[in-house]
């Protein structure tokens, strides 16, 4: 053909992705746009049969930038039809990528088709230019993609999604799942995870307590364990951890507040002890005040002791209320440790009194280093036996807290529980009034429960804390010392008076004894004894027992106590109380106020 042909597409170009090869099938009938000349009216619309031609396909973006271009040579069939696959031609130099490299990014793309009649393939004429659309069936029917499928736009799946054949699924972005998710195999999360809902680990596993794989929750991979943050401030209603079993709550770890301190048994006990000490100290001051004429310096010493006691109480309360944290609560009441039996074959049960020999226990208590009780269910159990030692050779021995103790005979609250020397493992109750000094070394603890059975009773007993069994003896000894002191003072006065009389009656007597007062109280000028140790100075000759404690009195007492302690060789710069007292004005005021209130309350309890 000499003329340049232009062509029209009269059949739909069918686009579909081939099953095996990449490409877009393209089918068209080439129509001769020139009319066939015959006499009269020429014939138009003839197809072009058996015509060699070249087809150039160009896929370009919305800005007419070529994304892909290829040329194919073909020949029309006898009906003028061509059947080609876009993607199987020869890529031109204008094409930036091969067909499989086309970025089907969802942006508009156009297909330009140009043809060149003949075999030269150089003079191309545009045949069609049309936008590319998705294949309608692909929208409504099943899609089978045997190769890679890349969807750059937002995708909506209105039904289930299944990734079969064990194929992995990888998400580089975030995953939001509104419905329930079920993972039937191992879940690995390699980054920080936030679970904003309740988590229940319902692992169908079992095993012994020494098997790591038997635990549904295992936390590892860090030098830290578990961190728990609760909403709001801590209190006894907010449990950090609560322990359940089939019978309900068996324990918990909860926050502590000031109110919890007042209900803490140890705090109550300590308060009682402080009250008793205060009463004794007040009595000592009263005694010293009564003997002021005989020994005025003693009053100063007792005043200093009072200051120290007040400071100790204040420091304890500050410590008690400033060191609140979490409480480990359980029906169990003691801290215990695993201790091996001295005689492995010996049968030892909970609640039995045992003697400790070099860290091993036996029911034989006579001659033991200390007495302890086998715990039944400690809240904390330390000294876990190593793998080389079976737990069957050890017992859980209570160190501190409340443990049940097998006691022979009746028991009253407050009785001391002392051990039998027989090695039976039983204890017996001794009232504080009947406790003999030779029984002090046999005291195991103090009963906090009554038992009326004259036989064997399992009595709740507090162990490992101050049970005050020494207080009565100390108080008794203190009274005896005070009595002796008074007697000495009286005798000194009598001797001084006798010396005066003898000096008047016997010439040279005074010179013979070498002093104006042969027997007298050591003056404040005497700074050291024969050992070189400082002797407590006399700070004041006036009585310092006030009826009402004032700020000035407290400060004066602190000064006296400091001087007294320094004389005792105490380095106040290393004393935590005095260091903080001198460096922290707020703390100083708080201590002063606490001392004033406590002292005045104590005086009010005792009476004038």
């Amino acid at each position: 053909m000499k003329k340049i042909f232009t062509f029209l597409i009269i059949l739909t170009a069918v686009l579909k992705l081939s099953g095996q090869d990449h490409g877009i099938t393209y089918q068209a009938v080439i129509i001769d746009a020139d009319a066939q000349e015959i006499p009269g009216v020429d014939i138009t619309g003839n197809y072009l049969p058996n015509q060699a031609l070249s087809v150039r396909f160009t896929i370009q973006d919305e800005n007419q930038i070529i994304e892909y271009q290829e040329i194919q040579s073909t020949t029309t069939d006898k009906y003028g039809m061509i059947n080609l696959t876009i993607g199987s031609g020869t890529t031109t130099t204008s094409s930036p990528v091969i067909f499989t490299g086309i970025d089907w990014d969802g942006m508009p793309k156009d297909l330009r088709v140009e043809i060149s009649i003949g075999e030269s393939g150089t003079d191309f004429t545009e045949l069609s230019f049309q936008p590319l659309y998705f294949v309608p069936y692909a929208f409504h029917r099943n899609i089978t993609a045997t190769g890679t499928m890349i969807i750059d736009g937002a995708s909506t799946l209105n039904s289930s999604l299944e990734v079969a054949n064990g194929s992995p699924a990888s998400l580089t972005g975030s995953l939001a799942v509104t419905g329930t998710s079920t993972l039937n195999d191992v879940l690995t999360v390699n980054s920080t995870s936030a679970l904003n809902g309740q988590v229940t680990i319902n692992a169908d596993i079992s095993g012994n307590d020494d098997q790591y794989d038997a635990y549904p929750l295992r936390v590892q991979g860090s030098n830290q364990g578990i961190g728990i943050t609760i909403d709001g401030s801590r209190n006894s209603d907010n449990n950090f951890i609560t322990f359940w079993d089939a019978n309900g709550i068996q324990g918990r770890i909860e926050g502590q507040v000031d109110a919890d301190v007042y209900t803490d048994p140890e705090f109550i006990f300590d308060q009682a002890m402080f009250a008793a000490k205060t009463a004794v100290q007040i009595a000592n001051i009263a005694i010293a005040a009564a003997a002021i004429l005989v020994d005025p310096g003693n009053v100063a010493i007792e005043a200093a002791n009072s200051g120290l006691l007040i400071a100790e109480i204040a420091e304890y309360e500050i410590f008690a209320f400033s060191n609140l944290g979490v409480a480990y609560e359980s029906g169990s009441g003691d801290y215990a440790e695993w201790l091996p039996r001295l005689y492995p074959e010996e049968q030892i049960g909970y609640g039995q009194v045992v003697g400790v020999y070099g860290g091993k226990i036996t029911k034989k208590t006579e001659g033991s280093e200390m007495l302890m009780v086998v715990s039944r269910s400690p809240i904390v159990l330390g000294n876990m036996p190593p793998d080389s030692i079976s737990e069957s050779l050890c017992e859980k021995v209570g160190f501190m807290g409340q443990v049940p103790v097998w006691v022979l005979g009746k028991v009253k609250k407050g009785d001391y529980i002392v051990s039998y020397k027989s090695g039976s493992g039983f204890g017996k109750a001794v009232s504080p009034e009947e406790l003999a000094i030779d029984q002090l070394s046999s005291v195991v603890g103090r009963a906090w429960a009554d038992a009326s059975n004259p036989g064997v009773n399992l009595v709740n007993t507090v162990i490992g804390v101050k049970t005050n069994e020494w207080t009565g003896f100390i108080q008794s000894n203190s009274a005896e010392i005070d009595s002796l002191r008074n007697e000495v003072a009286y005798l000194k006065a009598r001797i001084r008076k006798s010396d005066d009389i003898l000096s008047q009656l016997v010439p040279g007597y005074r010179e013979a004894i070498g002093s104006s007062s042969a027997v007298g109280r050591t003056s404040s000028a005497d700074k050291a004894d024969s050992t070189g140790k400082s002797i407590p100075p006399v700070i004041s000759d006036k009585p310092v027992y006030p009826k009402v404690m004032t700020r000035e009195t407290v400060l004066d007492n602190f000064s006296r106590a400091a001087a007294f302690l320094e004389a005792q060789g105490v380095d106040l710069s290393k004393n935590a109380f005095y260091s903080k007292l001198n460096s922290d004005p707020e703390y100083r005021e708080k201590v002063i106020n606490t001392v004033i209130n406590s002292y005045n309350q104590a005086c009010g309890q005792i009476g004038p």
């Binding site: 000499k2 066939q36 000349e37 015959i38 006499p39 009269g40 009216v41 014939i43 003839n46 197809y47 049969p49």
Partner: protein, 222 residues
């Protein structure tokens, strides 16, 4: 065109007329298209067709021995049909032309069978020239019919030149029967685009039978 017709009539009118006849003729017009497209290529599978023609006119005997002339009006049909096996097209034409037919005939044989007989057999040869113009025509292409009026190759008149022979027989003083064959080809009088090589000629073969009616002034030559 007008000049040509005037010259023909002036030439004929200079002849001495010694006998006059009117005639009427009808017969079959066999036509075929001779066609070349712009590339000079002819159409394959192009066939002729048969149509009816009618003619009526005036026939006179000139003073020149045995030479007669005639002038008449013709109504003739031309047509053709064909197909294109390559693309499967079918097409045919059916056109009606009216023309002015001018002719000269020369009697080469004239024989009276008896002395007193008025019956006379004449064999003659004849040349005609006939400008014709289409008055109605249709073209059919694949079952679609188009009007040929004003269409290229048909909108301009054709001039047909024909030649042939005939035989006539005078059955009495008034009427003469004749039969003749005229064959020739028509050429368009105007071509729209001289550079366009597309051309159409119409080949024509007329076989007709006619009747001369002697006018009262008719006088046959002796």
């Amino acid at each position: 065109m007008k000049k040509s017709l005037c010259l023909i009539f002036l030439s004929i009118s200079t002849l001495y007329v010694c006998g006059q006849q009117v005639y009427i003729e009808t017969g079959t017009a066999i036509s075929a298209f001779h066609y070349k497209n712009s590339d000079g290529e002819s159409l394959d599978n192009l066939f002729g067709s048969n149509n009816l023609f009618m003619q009526i006119g005036y026939h006179a005997v000139s003073t020149v021995n045995r030479l007669n002339y005639s002038a008449g009006i013709s109504y003739i049909g031309y047509g053709a049909s064909g197909s294109d096996s390559t693309v499967g097209n079918y097409f045919d034409w059916d056109a009606r032309y009216i023309g002015i037919d001018l002719g000269l005939d020369y009697e080469i044989i004239k024989k009276r069978f008896t002395t007193n007989s008025l019956s006379e057999l004449t064999v003659y040869i004849k040349l005609t020239i006939s400008p014709e113009i289409m008055v109605q025509g249709t073209q059919t292409i694949n079952n679609e019919v188009y009007n040929l009026a004003g269409v290229e190759q048909f909108k301009y008149p054709f001039i047909f030149a024909r030649g042939g022979a005939g035989i006539s027989y005078s059955i009495n003083r008034a009427f003469t029967l004749y039969a003749e064959y005229l064959g020739g080809e028509g050429f368009p009088v105007k071509i729209g685009d001289r550079d366009d090589k597309e051309r159409l000629w119409i080949a024509n073969h007329n076989i007709g039978f006619g009747l001369y009616v002697n006018l009262p002034s008719y006088k046959s030559w002796k």
